[in-house]
Symmetry: C2
Subunit: 163 residues, 2 copies
Protein backbone atom coordinates (compact mmCIF):
# COMPACT_ATOMS: atom_id res chain seq x y z
CA UNK A 1 0.00 0.00 0.00
CA UNK A 2 1.24 3.45 -0.84
CA UNK A 3 0.20 6.62 0.91
CA UNK A 4 -2.40 8.60 -1.03
CA UNK A 5 -0.85 11.38 -3.10
CA UNK A 6 -1.77 14.95 -2.16
CA UNK A 7 -4.53 16.11 -4.51
CA UNK A 8 -3.98 19.21 -6.61
CA UNK A 9 -6.06 22.20 -5.44
CA UNK A 10 -9.71 22.12 -6.52
CA UNK A 11 -10.81 24.53 -9.26
CA UNK A 12 -12.62 26.68 -6.65
CA UNK A 13 -9.45 27.10 -4.61
CA UNK A 14 -7.38 27.94 -7.66
CA UNK A 15 -9.83 30.63 -8.81
CA UNK A 16 -11.19 31.98 -5.54
CA UNK A 17 -8.53 31.09 -2.98
CA UNK A 18 -5.58 32.94 -1.58
CA UNK A 19 -3.04 30.14 -2.10
CA UNK A 20 -0.60 30.87 -4.91
CA UNK A 21 -0.25 27.68 -6.97
CA UNK A 22 1.09 28.66 -10.40
CA UNK A 23 0.46 26.20 -13.22
CA UNK A 24 3.50 25.65 -15.41
CA UNK A 25 3.10 24.17 -18.89
CA UNK A 26 4.64 20.93 -20.18
CA UNK A 27 7.99 22.75 -20.56
CA UNK A 28 7.85 23.99 -16.97
CA UNK A 29 7.11 27.57 -18.02
CA UNK A 30 4.41 30.15 -17.37
CA UNK A 31 3.81 33.14 -19.71
CA UNK A 32 4.29 36.60 -18.18
CA UNK A 33 2.76 39.82 -19.53
CA UNK A 34 5.07 42.74 -18.73
CA UNK A 35 3.64 46.26 -18.68
CA UNK A 36 5.13 49.65 -17.86
CA UNK A 37 4.11 50.87 -14.39
CA UNK A 38 4.48 54.42 -15.73
CA UNK A 39 2.54 54.30 -19.01
CA UNK A 40 0.56 51.04 -18.74
CA UNK A 41 1.70 49.90 -22.20
CA UNK A 42 2.56 46.27 -22.85
CA UNK A 43 6.35 45.97 -23.09
CA UNK A 44 6.80 42.27 -23.80
CA UNK A 45 5.55 38.74 -23.30
CA UNK A 46 8.15 36.52 -21.62
CA UNK A 47 8.29 33.22 -19.75
CA UNK A 48 9.32 32.16 -16.25
CA UNK A 49 10.23 28.79 -14.82
CA UNK A 50 9.90 28.14 -11.09
CA UNK A 51 13.36 29.48 -10.29
CA UNK A 52 12.90 32.71 -12.27
CA UNK A 53 9.57 33.26 -10.54
CA UNK A 54 10.99 32.61 -7.06
CA UNK A 55 13.95 34.94 -7.68
CA UNK A 56 11.68 37.67 -9.05
CA UNK A 57 9.44 37.48 -5.97
CA UNK A 58 12.38 37.46 -3.58
CA UNK A 59 14.46 40.20 -5.20
CA UNK A 60 11.86 42.41 -6.88
CA UNK A 61 14.04 42.39 -10.03
CA UNK A 62 12.44 40.69 -13.06
CA UNK A 63 14.04 37.42 -14.08
CA UNK A 64 12.85 35.11 -16.85
CA UNK A 65 13.64 31.88 -18.61
CA UNK A 66 15.22 32.57 -21.98
CA UNK A 67 13.81 30.01 -24.42
CA UNK A 68 16.34 30.98 -27.11
CA UNK A 69 19.36 30.65 -24.81
CA UNK A 70 17.82 27.94 -22.62
CA UNK A 71 18.95 29.50 -19.36
CA UNK A 72 17.86 31.80 -16.53
CA UNK A 73 17.88 35.40 -17.67
CA UNK A 74 18.03 38.42 -15.38
CA UNK A 75 16.48 41.13 -17.53
CA UNK A 76 19.09 43.81 -18.23
CA UNK A 77 22.10 41.67 -17.29
CA UNK A 78 23.77 42.63 -20.59
CA UNK A 79 22.03 45.85 -21.58
CA UNK A 80 21.58 47.43 -18.14
CA UNK A 81 17.91 47.83 -18.97
CA UNK A 82 16.67 46.17 -15.78
CA UNK A 83 13.09 45.88 -14.57
CA UNK A 84 12.03 46.67 -11.01
CA UNK A 85 8.73 45.00 -10.22
CA UNK A 86 6.03 47.22 -8.74
CA UNK A 87 3.25 44.62 -8.89
CA UNK A 88 2.82 40.95 -9.74
CA UNK A 89 -0.58 39.43 -10.41
CA UNK A 90 -1.84 35.98 -11.31
CA UNK A 91 -4.91 35.23 -13.42
CA UNK A 92 -8.04 33.25 -12.54
CA UNK A 93 -6.69 29.78 -13.36
CA UNK A 94 -3.13 30.70 -12.34
CA UNK A 95 -1.50 29.79 -15.65
CA UNK A 96 -0.46 33.35 -16.58
CA UNK A 97 1.21 36.23 -14.72
CA UNK A 98 1.14 40.02 -15.09
CA UNK A 99 4.19 42.03 -14.05
CA UNK A 100 4.13 45.83 -13.75
CA UNK A 101 7.67 47.21 -13.91
CA UNK A 102 9.79 50.33 -13.74
CA UNK A 103 12.42 50.27 -16.48
CA UNK A 104 16.05 51.00 -15.61
CA UNK A 105 18.92 52.03 -17.89
CA UNK A 106 17.80 53.39 -21.23
CA UNK A 107 14.18 52.62 -20.25
CA UNK A 108 13.90 50.33 -23.24
CA UNK A 109 12.59 46.78 -23.04
CA UNK A 110 13.12 45.42 -26.56
CA UNK A 111 16.46 44.07 -27.75
CA UNK A 112 15.95 46.10 -30.94
CA UNK A 113 16.38 49.28 -28.85
CA UNK A 114 12.70 50.19 -28.80
CA UNK A 115 10.78 50.70 -25.58
CA UNK A 116 8.19 48.00 -26.28
CA UNK A 117 8.54 44.79 -28.27
CA UNK A 118 5.08 45.51 -29.70
CA UNK A 119 6.07 48.24 -32.16
CA UNK A 120 4.09 47.09 -35.21
CA UNK A 121 0.33 47.00 -35.77
CA UNK A 122 -1.93 45.14 -38.18
CA UNK A 123 -4.93 46.65 -39.95
CA UNK A 124 -8.23 45.27 -38.65
CA UNK A 125 -11.40 44.55 -40.60
CA UNK A 126 -9.90 45.55 -43.93
CA UNK A 127 -9.87 42.20 -45.62
CA UNK A 128 -8.20 38.83 -45.48
CA UNK A 129 -5.39 38.07 -43.07
CA UNK A 130 -3.09 36.62 -45.72
CA UNK A 131 -0.47 38.99 -47.06
CA UNK A 132 -1.36 41.63 -44.52
CA UNK A 133 1.16 44.46 -44.06
CA UNK A 134 2.36 45.73 -40.70
CA UNK A 135 2.64 49.40 -39.73
CA UNK A 136 5.38 50.69 -37.44
CA UNK A 137 3.55 52.46 -34.61
CA UNK A 138 6.66 52.98 -32.49
CA UNK A 139 10.01 53.38 -34.15
CA UNK A 140 12.25 55.28 -31.78
CA UNK A 141 15.24 53.31 -30.53
CA UNK A 142 16.35 54.28 -27.01
CA UNK A 143 19.66 52.49 -27.35
CA UNK A 144 21.84 51.13 -30.13
CA UNK A 145 21.78 47.30 -29.95
CA UNK A 146 25.08 47.08 -31.80
CA UNK A 147 26.86 49.10 -29.12
CA UNK A 148 25.08 47.44 -26.21
CA UNK A 149 25.31 43.79 -27.23
CA UNK A 150 28.62 44.13 -29.03
CA UNK A 151 27.62 42.36 -32.23
CA UNK A 152 26.10 43.40 -35.53
CA UNK A 153 22.42 44.17 -35.33
CA UNK A 154 19.76 44.47 -37.98
CA UNK A 155 17.69 46.86 -35.90
CA UNK A 156 16.40 49.87 -37.81
CA UNK A 157 14.24 52.69 -36.51
CA UNK A 158 15.30 56.15 -35.45
CA UNK A 159 18.00 56.24 -32.83
CA UNK A 160 17.27 58.74 -30.06
CA UNK A 161 19.90 61.48 -29.91
CA UNK A 162 21.93 61.09 -26.76
CA UNK A 163 21.41 64.09 -24.47
CA UNK B 1 15.77 16.27 -57.52
CA UNK B 2 13.16 18.18 -55.59
CA UNK B 3 12.49 21.87 -55.84
CA UNK B 4 14.10 23.91 -53.04
CA UNK B 5 11.66 24.64 -50.25
CA UNK B 6 10.79 28.30 -49.63
CA UNK B 7 13.01 29.57 -46.81
CA UNK B 8 11.40 31.02 -43.72
CA UNK B 9 11.86 34.80 -43.44
CA UNK B 10 15.28 35.89 -42.14
CA UNK B 11 15.49 37.24 -38.59
CA UNK B 12 15.93 40.78 -39.94
CA UNK B 13 12.73 40.58 -41.95
CA UNK B 14 10.79 39.15 -39.03
CA UNK B 15 11.92 41.93 -36.68
CA UNK B 16 12.28 44.91 -39.00
CA UNK B 17 10.03 44.06 -41.92
CA UNK B 18 6.43 44.86 -42.77
CA UNK B 19 5.41 41.30 -43.64
CA UNK B 20 3.18 39.72 -41.04
CA UNK B 21 4.43 36.18 -40.45
CA UNK B 22 3.12 35.02 -37.06
CA UNK B 23 5.00 32.18 -35.41
CA UNK B 24 2.71 29.56 -33.94
CA UNK B 25 4.03 27.14 -31.31
CA UNK B 26 4.17 23.33 -31.57
CA UNK B 27 0.42 23.22 -30.80
CA UNK B 28 -0.32 25.72 -33.57
CA UNK B 29 -1.10 28.51 -31.12
CA UNK B 30 0.15 32.03 -30.43
CA UNK B 31 -0.37 33.78 -27.05
CA UNK B 32 -2.43 36.98 -27.11
CA UNK B 33 -2.30 39.71 -24.45
CA UNK B 34 -5.71 41.39 -24.23
CA UNK B 35 -5.93 44.89 -22.73
CA UNK B 36 -8.80 47.33 -22.28
CA UNK B 37 -8.73 50.14 -24.85
CA UNK B 38 -10.45 52.33 -22.26
CA UNK B 39 -8.35 51.74 -19.13
CA UNK B 40 -5.21 50.06 -20.49
CA UNK B 41 -5.41 47.27 -17.89
CA UNK B 42 -4.58 43.70 -18.83
CA UNK B 43 -7.82 41.74 -19.09
CA UNK B 44 -6.57 38.25 -19.96
CA UNK B 45 -3.99 36.14 -21.71
CA UNK B 46 -5.53 33.90 -24.36
CA UNK B 47 -4.43 31.90 -27.41
CA UNK B 48 -5.24 31.99 -31.12
CA UNK B 49 -4.74 29.44 -33.84
CA UNK B 50 -4.51 30.54 -37.47
CA UNK B 51 -8.26 30.47 -37.99
CA UNK B 52 -9.05 32.49 -34.84
CA UNK B 53 -6.46 35.07 -35.90
CA UNK B 54 -7.79 35.32 -39.46
CA UNK B 55 -11.39 35.67 -38.25
CA UNK B 56 -10.38 38.32 -35.70
CA UNK B 57 -8.59 40.36 -38.37
CA UNK B 58 -11.45 40.02 -40.84
CA UNK B 59 -14.34 40.71 -38.46
CA UNK B 60 -12.78 42.94 -35.80
CA UNK B 61 -14.44 40.73 -33.14
CA UNK B 62 -11.99 38.84 -30.91
CA UNK B 63 -11.92 35.09 -31.44
CA UNK B 64 -9.60 32.64 -29.73
CA UNK B 65 -8.76 28.97 -29.50
CA UNK B 66 -10.15 27.51 -26.28
CA UNK B 67 -7.56 25.08 -24.95
CA UNK B 68 -9.98 23.70 -22.34
CA UNK B 69 -12.79 23.07 -24.84
CA UNK B 70 -10.47 22.39 -27.78
CA UNK B 71 -12.44 24.48 -30.24
CA UNK B 72 -12.72 27.93 -31.80
CA UNK B 73 -14.16 30.40 -29.32
CA UNK B 74 -15.82 33.70 -30.22
CA UNK B 75 -15.37 35.67 -27.02
CA UNK B 76 -18.79 36.45 -25.56
CA UNK B 77 -20.66 33.80 -27.57
CA UNK B 78 -22.27 32.56 -24.33
CA UNK B 79 -22.01 35.52 -21.98
CA UNK B 80 -22.60 38.35 -24.45
CA UNK B 81 -19.39 39.92 -23.19
CA UNK B 82 -17.88 40.37 -26.63
CA UNK B 83 -14.65 42.15 -27.52
CA UNK B 84 -14.38 44.68 -30.36
CA UNK B 85 -10.78 45.07 -31.43
CA UNK B 86 -9.43 48.61 -31.65
CA UNK B 87 -5.80 47.63 -32.29
CA UNK B 88 -3.77 44.50 -32.92
CA UNK B 89 0.01 44.46 -32.60
CA UNK B 90 2.71 41.84 -33.03
CA UNK B 91 5.99 41.71 -31.12
CA UNK B 92 9.56 41.79 -32.42
CA UNK B 93 9.90 38.09 -33.18
CA UNK B 94 6.21 37.72 -34.09
CA UNK B 95 5.45 34.95 -31.57
CA UNK B 96 3.08 37.02 -29.41
CA UNK B 97 0.18 39.37 -30.12
CA UNK B 98 -1.35 42.33 -28.27
CA UNK B 99 -5.05 43.07 -28.70
CA UNK B 100 -6.66 46.29 -27.45
CA UNK B 101 -10.41 45.83 -27.09
CA UNK B 102 -13.67 47.51 -26.19
CA UNK B 103 -15.74 45.25 -23.97
CA UNK B 104 -19.40 44.63 -24.80
CA UNK B 105 -22.21 43.33 -22.59
CA UNK B 106 -21.47 43.59 -18.88
CA UNK B 107 -17.98 44.91 -19.75
CA UNK B 108 -16.46 41.96 -17.90
CA UNK B 109 -13.79 39.73 -19.40
CA UNK B 110 -13.35 37.01 -16.78
CA UNK B 111 -15.66 34.01 -16.53
CA UNK B 112 -15.77 34.59 -12.75
CA UNK B 113 -17.71 37.82 -13.43
CA UNK B 114 -14.80 40.15 -12.77
CA UNK B 115 -13.62 42.68 -15.34
CA UNK B 116 -10.05 41.31 -15.54
CA UNK B 117 -8.80 37.77 -15.04
CA UNK B 118 -5.87 39.27 -13.11
CA UNK B 119 -7.70 40.08 -9.87
CA UNK B 120 -5.14 38.77 -7.37
CA UNK B 121 -1.67 40.10 -6.53
CA UNK B 122 1.39 38.57 -4.85
CA UNK B 123 3.62 40.37 -2.36
CA UNK B 124 7.06 41.20 -3.78
CA UNK B 125 10.38 41.18 -1.96
CA UNK B 126 8.92 40.00 1.31
CA UNK B 127 10.52 36.59 1.51
CA UNK B 128 10.44 33.22 -0.14
CA UNK B 129 7.97 32.38 -2.89
CA UNK B 130 6.79 29.16 -1.24
CA UNK B 131 3.56 29.42 0.69
CA UNK B 132 2.98 32.95 -0.53
CA UNK B 133 -0.55 34.35 -0.04
CA UNK B 134 -2.48 36.21 -2.71
CA UNK B 135 -4.40 39.46 -2.16
CA UNK B 136 -7.63 40.24 -4.00
CA UNK B 137 -7.02 43.59 -5.68
CA UNK B 138 -10.24 43.52 -7.71
CA UNK B 139 -13.26 41.75 -6.35
CA UNK B 140 -16.32 43.28 -7.96
CA UNK B 141 -18.27 40.91 -10.18
CA UNK B 142 -20.01 42.61 -13.11
CA UNK B 143 -22.20 39.60 -13.83
CA UNK B 144 -23.30 36.46 -12.03
CA UNK B 145 -21.64 33.46 -13.71
CA UNK B 146 -24.33 31.12 -12.40
CA UNK B 147 -27.05 33.06 -14.23
CA UNK B 148 -25.02 33.63 -17.38
CA UNK B 149 -23.57 30.17 -17.92
CA UNK B 150 -26.53 28.29 -16.43
CA UNK B 151 -24.56 26.01 -14.15
CA UNK B 152 -23.34 26.18 -10.56
CA UNK B 153 -20.37 28.48 -10.09
CA UNK B 154 -17.88 28.81 -7.28
CA UNK B 155 -17.23 32.48 -8.06
CA UNK B 156 -17.16 34.70 -5.00
CA UNK B 157 -16.55 38.43 -4.85
CA UNK B 158 -19.09 41.21 -4.53
CA UNK B 159 -21.81 41.16 -7.16
CA UNK B 160 -22.50 44.60 -8.59
CA UNK B 161 -26.04 45.76 -7.87
CA UNK B 162 -28.05 45.88 -11.05
CA UNK B 163 -29.03 49.49 -11.88
Amino acid sequence: MTAPKASPPAETDIEEGKAFSPRFDASGLVPVVVTSAASGEVLMLAYMNGEALARTIETGEAQFWSRSRNRLWRKGEESGNTMRVTELRTDCDQDALWLKVELGGAEACCHTGRKSCFYRALPIGEGKAAGIALTFVENERLFDPEKVYGHASAAKGNLKTQG
